[in-house]
Amino acid sequence: MTDDDRVFKALADPTRRFLLDRLFVRDGRTLTELESELDMTRFGVMKHLRVLEDANLVVTRRSGREKLHFLNPVPIRLIHNRWIDKYTERRVSALAELKAELEGEMA
């Protein structure tokens, strides 16, 4: 797997996106803190954090006896540079408009 593969795989799961969003709001959290916001076993949360760490989206640091989890946005930036910049903003916004229009029709 390439670095990009790992990032896309990590982001392809709602629980992992939720964990990233929680760290975005407040960085440097312990497993216990993150676990308290999810209806999931400690082991399940650890597994998700491991996938995020493997994708370099989460970096852990020791602080005394605690292990703190930090959101690392660099891989997302690299994907943005690689994939979003390539397809010009104009085309992306045209697609976003099309989506909004189609979803409006369906409603």
Partner: protein
């Protein structure tokens, strides 16, 4: 809610770069390299404990309203090409400059296959303005994308020879004349 909401004052960034630790060390500490990525300033490092650190703005950054010295500080520990610890004060905004010095650590660790791990740990107690700026929170106002952007640009420069550089609100520099 019973959870404690102590705001952490530390930001951690990590990037894997296909380059030697020495190349990454040089890219952080040598002005001929720092001019080529991120905010494009020229660093001046006296790489020993207590040594001074300054970043001199490029002409382009000055034209966009940067102060002549963008950042200053003092070296705490220099262990080339593995670890650099220093103080760091942002001078480009008066409000952020007033927040004073933060503590910045670069850790460079060689990995497998010629890939090196670069970790930046930025401790900013009592510096909310600096925290927003270095996290790229003011990028849409032309303030650049902070560490996230600097490090992805550094990776791009070392791996492909190309970088994106800060253009603020001004767009590409005028090449005419």
């Amino acid at each position: 809610m019973s959870t404690t909401q102590t705001q952490t004052s530390t930001q951690v960034y990590r990037v894997y770069i296909k380059a030697t630790p020495q190349a990454i060390w040089d890219a952080i500490t040598a002005p001929e390299w720092t001019r080529k990525y991120g905010y494009g300033g020229s660093v001046e490092y006296d790489l020993r404990p207590g040594g001074s650190y300054r970043v001199i703005a490029s002409a382009e950054a000055m034209a966009m309203g940067s102060t002549e010295i963008m950042v200053d500080g003092e070296v705490i520990e220099a262990d080339p090409p593995h670890k650099l610890v220093q103080t760091w004060r942002m001078l480009m905004s008066e409000a952020v400059a007033a927040e004073g010095f933060s503590r910045l650590t670069y850790e460079i660790k060689e990995g497998k296959g010629g890939v090196t791990k670069l970790t930046v740990i930025h401790d900013m107690p009592d510096a909310p303005g600096m925290a927003v700026m270095v996290s790229g929170g003011l990028e849409d106002q032309g303030a650049g994308g902070g560490w996230n952007w600097i490090l992805s640009d550094l990776k791009s420069l070392l791996e492909t020879g190309e970088s994106m550089q800060w253009q603020g609100d001004a767009g590409p520099p005028d090449q005419d004349g």
